[in-house]
Amino acid sequence: MKRLAWIILCALSLGAGQALAAGRSVSYSTWLVSGNTVTLRFLLPVGEARRLVGVAVPVLTTDKLKDYMLQHVSVDSAGGACPAIDQGYDLGQVDPLAVGPDLYGFELVYRCSDPRQLILHNSVLFGAVPDHANFARVQTQGHSVEQLFTAGHQSLPLPDVGAPRSAGLLAYLGIGLSHILGSADRWCVLLGALLLVRRRRDLIAIMVALVTGYLLALLVSASGWVLPRAALAEAFIGFLVLLFGAAITLRETQPRWAALIAGPGLLLVLAGASLWMHAPWVALAMMGAACLFTGLVLLSRERAGPGSSWLLLVALFALLDGSAMSALLQPAQLSRRSQAQLSVGFDAGAVLIEALIVSIPALVLFVVRTQRIVALRLLVDDLAAAVLSGLGAFWLVSRLWV
């Protein structure tokens, strides 16, 4: 049984690159409407720009990106399409901005013959990344509203009088939904939690842990005091996936001293390597991971299983996942209120879809268990433990020094 599990794990690891769940795909735009002139400032993370290479942009140069931008953003009005003006000084229609090493910035100015019935169009990246989201801020007639461009919402009409409507909670809910649905590592966390469920009340405990974690994340982001280190948080989620795999194994077997030493030992080696590479925060996180791993294994030895300690992992996952949005929103420079609204919508969407993901397979599991198909359950546990451990270790190491 275990040999079969390891064979499948090895096969899976060949395609591990596909399982490399990418971070959230976002970009940012600011639209300044003044009379018949619309000034667009667009910020595109370098990582997102690389997704276009080979498909929409043959070679990643600023000039090629400028051409791509010109083709995928536009403004229409009652007088027809508004042309982007030549900004002089050999800049052309798209002016590149210096906005830091991790972002590409562009500025375009559209001049409309008729300032009425303005419609803003943005289709950047949606062809290559369907779940891409563009956080937009529209300033017009003294008002500033936050909006969202998605694959299903690529145009935004502006009223001739008054403020345009801002993106509602539902829009951000959709982001939270698609964020969980499109991330393999989030699925693995939920699968791991699901496989540790023994009683019906464990399902409720999972939901409570998720909600608690997301609420804590909201509190943290609302305070504005701390921000997550996004890349490191993604690596730690990989570690949590690994821990779930270990927890599933610990439920069936007594942990050996080798596991007690090897697991934390490897994490401490990673911590040492991080210190050597002048990444002290990574080292601290890995030391915390080693302590967490040790505590979990020791508790499992004591209680003959992980008990309910794995619920802490669920809450920790929710805290990190919910905090990710605040790090993503930094370049957008939104107001505290808008950021809070966005985070609430995102977290609510994540919780809703996670509840759905957890509840449907749980029903199937309970049906299987009532049939007392013990061998099937053991096979699933073994396979899941191997897959989760392998993928978790892969994500941890591959994302650690990004």
Partner: protein, 308 residues
């Protein structure tokens, strides 16, 4: 005693086997969270001491504001009126906003005038500490001794240029060989003590007209005589006669009447020039050292077929 009663049972079996793992989990979570989260950059909501204003979180120094006010009002800061100070601050904020906009548009990379100003400013900044130091006489004298040739005072000479024309329709029967022989004899006569007028009368030499018989600085003599004859003249001391020199218009004999050779000016005479030259040299060295350092730290790739 109370503490021991509370914590004692926790630190002994069997509770210890549960407490320690829970403690490890707690410590692990705390360590992990400290490593995973960082302090968010807090925007400044009040102007810090030493600054007069913040523009997009970038400060305008109070010292700069005071200096600018004094410059624009031609009065001390205390004497400037509130309206004047407001106007100056308004202008400084306008300037800061435009500078920040220029940085966003990457104008320092794309505009030649701005690039030239930035280069000059960087060089001036590098040279400033060097120029702030005042050299003593010992340093200046050492610099003077090292560059003596730069402080030479030009010499002067009074020379007669006699020529025996060769060729042309007026001297159809005068060959170069004959002229050479006549000139050699004329030089002998002059060196024997005969006067130039005697030589001119007997050998047919005439005044070339290039020199007017007065004492002139070396550069003027060079201009009048030409390079060939001037090089001969520089070697002659007072009273000496040159060997015959064939030039384009005939055989020349130079008679040096008076010759003040170029000499190095005394340090006390040229001290100001030495000081200025010292400052220039220090500035040049500082800026060159800076460029070398920047180049050593830069990754420079040259396109194929090009070189620097």
């Amino acid at each position: 005693m109370g503490v021991a009663r509370v914590f004692g049972p926790l630190l002994s079996r069997p509770q210890r086997t549960r407490v320690l793992p829970v403690l490890a989990i707690g410590v692990g979570v705390v360590l992990a969270l400290v490593g995973l989260f960082r302090a968010a950059p807090m925007p400044l909501t009040a102007v810090p001491p030493g600054y007069v204003a913040l523009v997009n979180q970038k400060g305008i120094l109070m010292n700069d504001f005071i200096a600018q006010t004094q410059l624009e009002t031609s009065r001390s800061f205390a004497e400037a009126t509130p309206a004047e100070r407001q106007r100056v601050l308004h202008e400084m904020i306008d300037e800061e906003v435009l500078v920040q906009r220029g940085l966003v548009l990457d104008i320092p990379e794309t505009t030649n005038e701005v690039r030239g100003s930035i280069v000059s400013a960087v060089n001036a900044q590098v040279a400033a500490p060097v120029l702030a130091t005042v050299p003593d006489d010992g340093e200046l004298r050492a610099f003077y001794d090292k560059n003596r040739q730069s402080y030479t005072v030009a010499g002067s000479m009074q020379v007669r240029d006699l020529v025996l024309h060769v060729g042309g329709y007026q001297n159809a029967d005068q060959t170069s060989t004959q002229a050479q022989a006549d000139a050699t004899e004329a030089v002998y006569q002059l060196r024997a003590g005969n006067s130039a007028d005697y030589v001119m009368a007997h050998f047919g030499f005439v005044n070339s007209g290039r020199m007017d018989g007065t004492e002139q600085p070396d550069f003027a003599v060079k201009l009048h005589l030409g390079d060939k004859l001037y090089q001969v003249a520089t070697q002659l001391r007072e009273g000496e006669i040159s060997d015959p020199v064939l030039d384009a218009d005939g055989m020349h004999i130079l008679v040096m009447v008076r010759h003040d050779f170029p000499k190095v000016a005394d340090f006390s005479v040229v001290r100001d020039r030495v000081y200025l030259d010292w400052r220039t040299a220090q500035t040049k060295r500082a800026t060159q050292d800076n460029v070398h350092l920047l180049r050593s730290q830069a990754q420079i790739l040259i396109a194929p077929g090009q070189s620097q």
